[in-house]
């Protein structure tokens, strides 16, 4: 039998990947791509000109900040970009095991290497435009503030490019390898979702850390330890470029100070970056078809039979005997049968004991003799930590697998309202013990007065309830499904986290002065931490429920 030889498999896969990436402008692909490319190229040149106008009056302040913290700040931002670029494609790939696609490809006798190269090259046009838009955003402030000449700008862009390309390549290789391993496993989909969830959490932490404690992260990255990261080498090349090509000039003292932090000179960093690029590419090519190969193994289905309902479920049914109870029970069962949610809940329980650990490990000395101060300190810590559990961990965890499930809910009269209500109650049942238990332990350890001991658990509950409504509201206004890409999930995470962070600080800063003389510091802090968050939660949740339920246009 004559064997049909297909050439350039990778090119065919690259084209398919390109079509997939450009799905949003599929009708006018070439024209849209040409326009986007032209605009992004123009953007590269005008961004540094625009920045001084945008920074305007604060321009001189920025020079001061950047001059003193330049290497640490650059390492911090480059690390964030590197982590996002590295983990996001892996997280996205794990949300969806493409077994049916492999079946088509393998039927046409395509090698693993073809799939790897095809996928990578197919994404280049899309990633190039992203790069051309994002890199000037990141680099323009530096270029404008330090008056970097054209040659310096080229070095900076080339450095970022050299960091991104191999990172994307190796991320593509790891994602493919994980898909291969998990695709052949009977519980592959569940494991993939666990790993995907863990990666999203890993993505969240540095962003959270950089938002809450930017200076600490900058200091950490000024240490020798950070020299192990490729992102540090790229950041240091940019720092050296700023030092030696800056039109504003740096004092000798500052250059000596920077040299102590930067350690590796620019040429060594460049060599390391090139070496790692070569290693990544070679390893990627080498592993494909050798260490892992796409194949259609015997994927046996596993049948899981549900057992008797446990005491908690039976208790919920007793408390809510009507149809609401059934919806709450269904929400709980559905949530806890997904391994990725169990991981999320474990994370929540770890976060929930942070206030307890913080308070019991603080060396407070004489302060322990001032009970009101301790109550106040407890309140400050829980008002920052508990909203994270309620809003981000429980509120934002997707409950719907895809949009088809939304159609099912919408087709029932007031289905959206009933569903959201059940979801809030089921999540409250899950999270309430998680915050009540540590709070009660703190009360016992610190031996608070009776009034504070009664109020604190209520504050904890109010915080978790209000923040959960904020998370659910944001997650329903801009619906997040399990299959939603990591980028969109991350955007919802950042907006929820940002809003909760503001609500944990701003009302207290503005209102404490006025309320303390009336109801005391403890009462004022309790009210200012919970009331604004509660009302924002109600509004967002109401808006989300409305949007969830209305017919689509």
């Amino acid at each position: 039998m004559e064997r049909m030889i297909l050439t350039n498999h990778w090119l065919v896969i690259a084209k398919a990947e390109y079509y997939l990436m450009s799905l949003n402008y599929r009708k006018k692909r070439k024209r849209t791509f040409a326009i986007l490319l032209s605009v992004s190229l123009i953007w590269v040149f005008i961004a540094p000109i625009l920045v001084p106008f945008l920074l305007d009056t604060y321009f001189s302040d920025y020079i001061g900040i950047f001059s003193t913290e330049l290497p640490g700040l650059l390492r911090q931002y480059t690390l964030l970009i590197w982590i996002i670029i590295f983990f996001m494609p892996i997280s996205n790939a794990l949300q969806e095991l493409k077994i049916s696609q492999w079946e088509i490809l393998l039927n046409a006798d395509v090698s693993t290497r073809d799939i790897l190269v095809g996928r990578f090259i197919g994404r280049i046009p899309h990633n190039l435009i992203l790069f051309l838009f994002a890199a000037p955003l990141a680099l323009s402030p530096l270029i404008a503030i330090f008056e970097i000449p054209f040659s310096g700008q080229i070095i900076m862009y080339a450095t970022i490019f050299c960091l991104i390309v191999p990172t994307l390549w190796v991320s593509n290789v790891i994602a493919s390898a994980l898909q291969t391993v998990l695709g052949n496993n009977a519980r592959g989909e569940d494991i993939a979702k666990i790993v995907g969830t863990m990666l999203t959490i890993i993505l969240m932490f540095p962003i959270m850390f950089s938002m809450m404690l930017p200076e600490s992260l900058a200091q950490l990255l000024s240490s020798t330890f950070s020299l192990l990261f490729p992102s540090t080498w790229a950041a240091d090349i940019i720092s050296w470029t700023v030092l030696f090509q800056s039109g504003t000039g740096f004092s000798q003292d500052l250059i000596r100070y920077y040299s102590g932090i930067l350690i590796f000179d620019a040429s060594l960093c460049a060599v390391l970056l090139i070496l790692i690029t070569i290693v990544f590419i070679v390893v990627g090519f080498g592993t494909g078809d050798r260490i892992f190969t796409f194949s259609l193994g015997a994927r046996t289905e596993r049948i899981t039979t549900v057992g008797k309902e446990n005491i908690i479920i039976r208790g919920v049914r007793r408390v809510f005997p009507n149809s609401n109870g059934t919806l709450i029970v269904t929400a709980l069962k559905e949530f806890y049968r997904k391994p990725q949610n169990v991981i999320t809940v474990s994370l929540a329980s770890i976060v929930s004991i942070i206030p307890l650990l913080t308070i019991s490990s603080l060396n407070l000395g004489d302060l322990l003799d001032i009970p009101i101060l301790m109550v106040y300190l407890t309140m400050v810590i829980i008002s920052i930590m508990y909203p994270f559990i309620g809003g981000v961990i429980f509120g934002l965890t997707p409950h719907l697998e895809n949009k088809n499930q939304l159609w099912v809910i919408r087709s029932a009269p007031n289905g959206a309202g009933k569903y959201i209500k059940a979801r809030i109650i089921s999540m409250l049942i899950s999270s309430a013990p998680m915050v009540l238990l540590p709070t009660i332990l703190i009360i016992f350890i610190m031996q608070f007065f009776i009034l504070e001991s009664i109020i604190l658990p209520f504050v904890a509950l109010a915080l978790i309830f209000s923040s959960m409504m904020i998370g659910i509201g944001i997650g329903t206004l801009n619906p997040i499904y399990e299959v939603t890409k990591a980028g969109k999930k991350l955007a919802s995470f950042i907006s929820s986290f940002g809003l909760l962070f503001i609500l944990s600080i701003v009302p207290q800063t503005l209102g404490l002065e006025y309320l303390t003389p009336i109801i005391g510091a403890f009462g004022a802090y309790a009210l200012l931490s919970t009331i604004p968050m509660f009302f924002v939660g109600i509004v967002l949740c109401w808006a989300g429920t409305m949007k969830f339920g209305i017919p689509e246009k």
Binding site: S323, T330, N404, W407, S411, G415, P551, K553
Partner: protein
Amino acid sequence: MDSIGVVQGRENRMPVNNIEIRTENLTKIYGTLTALDNLNVEVERGYIFGYLGPNGSGKTTTVRLLSGLLRPTSGTATLCGYDIVSDLKKVKAVTGILPETPGLYTKLSAVEFLEFIGALYDVEKEKLHERIMKILSILGLEDRQDDLLDSYSSGMKQKVLVASTLIHEPKIVFLDEPTAYLDPSTSVLVKDIILTLAKETGTTFFICTHMIDFAEKVCDKIGLLKAGKLMTVGTVQEIVEKSKTQNLEEAYLKIMGEENAIEGILDWRG
């Protein structure tokens, strides 16, 4: 407006005048695409309306509009006398929908999923449990009723979806490709369920399907849709006579302009 209450395809059917589904110039436009163009149709109580058309002709859009999941661009429709825009909750209460793409909760068992759907429609608990057990038994799922849905085959999932559509006893049932994924014996079972429900309880069915044979055997009245436009409505006999063909399949191909599709069927080989 075409409103025909003539018996076709089933026995013991009498013409009735209770209109359960009525659309007037119902239109849906997505950007530049007219998905549904001035649909005018009436379906009487207890009738089975077959909605036939090629892929992308606007069948699913019609079902989503009528069940209140989509908002029409223009025109109106009433279900059991309730307007699909202003009486949305009432419309949802009297309808059941089997979607084209299943939205099953994979980590629930069949019993749990049907409990969830029943609770969404506020079905009384005892009644709901009894119905679930009976319908799963009729559909031959009693042995697998406590297994998680993620281990079900496509056909078994479709059975659960059919059950979920009927569990709250809707007056009007929309079925989007009900026999997709089903084996022949289950297709016959679903057909019998539809016929019995229509006959015994007066449930009205609006069925989107590609299965001409199925439509011919089950439906009292058929509407043929092409590119969002309703080309014709009537009984099978009327459509066949009007199109001067021998059977519904030929009539369908002629009305859709696909009767010569067989010519050049191998042209793609080059």
